[in-house]
């Protein structure tokens, strides 16, 4: 009688184990599938060199305005447009170099996804700048804040296809821009074009540089997409 009970208990234990195992492996397989699908959609090139390069260009361009006076709304907009194109060009070259080094496609699917996600934010920034320039507004300092807020929106959207930190970086740009919009008058009595250049150096230069250095020490050396 006792052995029959033990036998039944053994069978029940085995049944429970098998049930738990089958549930476990099926769940694990689904987890693996989810992780791989997410991974294949994420842009994983090393961001640290791009951030550092963009930051250096921003800080350098802002410092240059201490020696070369660029006054007025249109010269300001044109100057920083050229700087942005330069930074963008350098970043694209770095991405291309990474792609060639790892024998991968430059314009890969994750890269396309990131570009498509960021585009509306950048487009709104460009359109708003055009409107400000066309209106001939005197407040040059508003332009960097519009740019950084729109850039933050673009980066945040692109962050859905990039490592998590990019979304936070986007939020930081947005919140800083809005904060400065509201509070700059309290800090600087009458912001000038010079203030606007410093804002560009701070928002685009220093922020990128700091985040780039942070990534340099934390980012995994994974460069493949």
């Amino acid at each position: 009688m006792q052995s029959e009970i033990l036998d039944t208990l053994d069978k029940l234990t085995l049944q429970c184990k098998v049930n738990a195992m089958s549930n476990h492996w099926a769940e694990e397989n689904l987890d693996v599938i989810r992780t791989l699908m997410e991974r294949s959609a994420i842009y994983r090139r090393a961001l640290a060199p791009l951030m550092i390069a963009a930051g250096l260009v921003g800080v350098g361009a802002s410092t240059l305005t201490c020696f070369v006076k660029i006054e007025g709304l249109v010269p300001f907009a044109v100057y920083w447009l050229v700087v942005a194109a330069l930074a963008q060009g350098i970043c694209l070259l770095l991405v291309r170099r990474q792609a060639l080094k790892s024998e991968e496609e430059f314009w890969s699917a994750p890269t396309r996804r990131v570009a498509r996600a960021a585009l509306p934010g950048f487009f709104v920034g460009a359109a708003a700048s055009l409107l400000v320039v066309r209106a001939g507004a005197d407040e040059v300092w508003e332009l960097p804040l519009i740019w950084s807020a729109a850039y933050g929106c673009g980066i945040h959207a692109a962050g859905f296809f990039m490592p998590r930190g990019m979304k936070l970086f986007g939020w930081l740009m947005i919140l800083l821009s809005l904060g400065l919009f509201l509070g700059l008058g309290e800090i600087v009595e009458s912001p000038t074009t010079e203030t606007a250049h410093y804002l560009m150096g701070g928002l685009f230069g220093v922020l990128h540089l700091v985040y780039g250095v942070y990534l340099r020490f934390t980012e995994t050396a994974k460069e493949s997409v």
Binding site: N23, L30, I33, L36, S40, S102, A109, S224
Partner: protein, 101 residues
């Protein structure tokens, strides 16, 4: 636990390496052989064997072209492969659900 759920699992996909390949391909339109190898950390030989298996089942399409002077092998899921992968995930979900009771 319903044994039929286990039988529904596609044997071609139900292998660690091939399931990983199918997962990556299901998330994107196409992936190059090099990207796939680097992402999954497989050897060329291992990946080739799995791809041949999937190709034979009609689940994966292989396109060979040139990028500059270098040959480029691109992999993508076929319609049949996408449907089979969706069925495989459904079967896994059923197993998880039935095991939870």
């Amino acid at each position: 636990m319903n044994p039929e759920d286990f039988q529904k699992l596609d044997r071609v996909i139900h292998e660690k390496g091939r399931m990983a390949i199918m997962s990556l391909l299901a998330a994107t339109a196409e992936v190059s052989f090099t990207d796939m190898r680097n992402t999954l950390g497989m050897t060329d030989g291992n990946l080739t064997t799995h791809i041949k298996h999937l190709q034979k089942a009609g689940y994966v399409g292989v396109t060979k072209s040139f990028r500059g002077k270098r040959p480029l092998t691109t992999l993508s899921l076929t319609g049949q492969g996408r449907a089979a992968f969706a069925d495989y995930i459904d079967a896994l979900e059923k197993i998880v659900k039935s095991a939870r009771g």
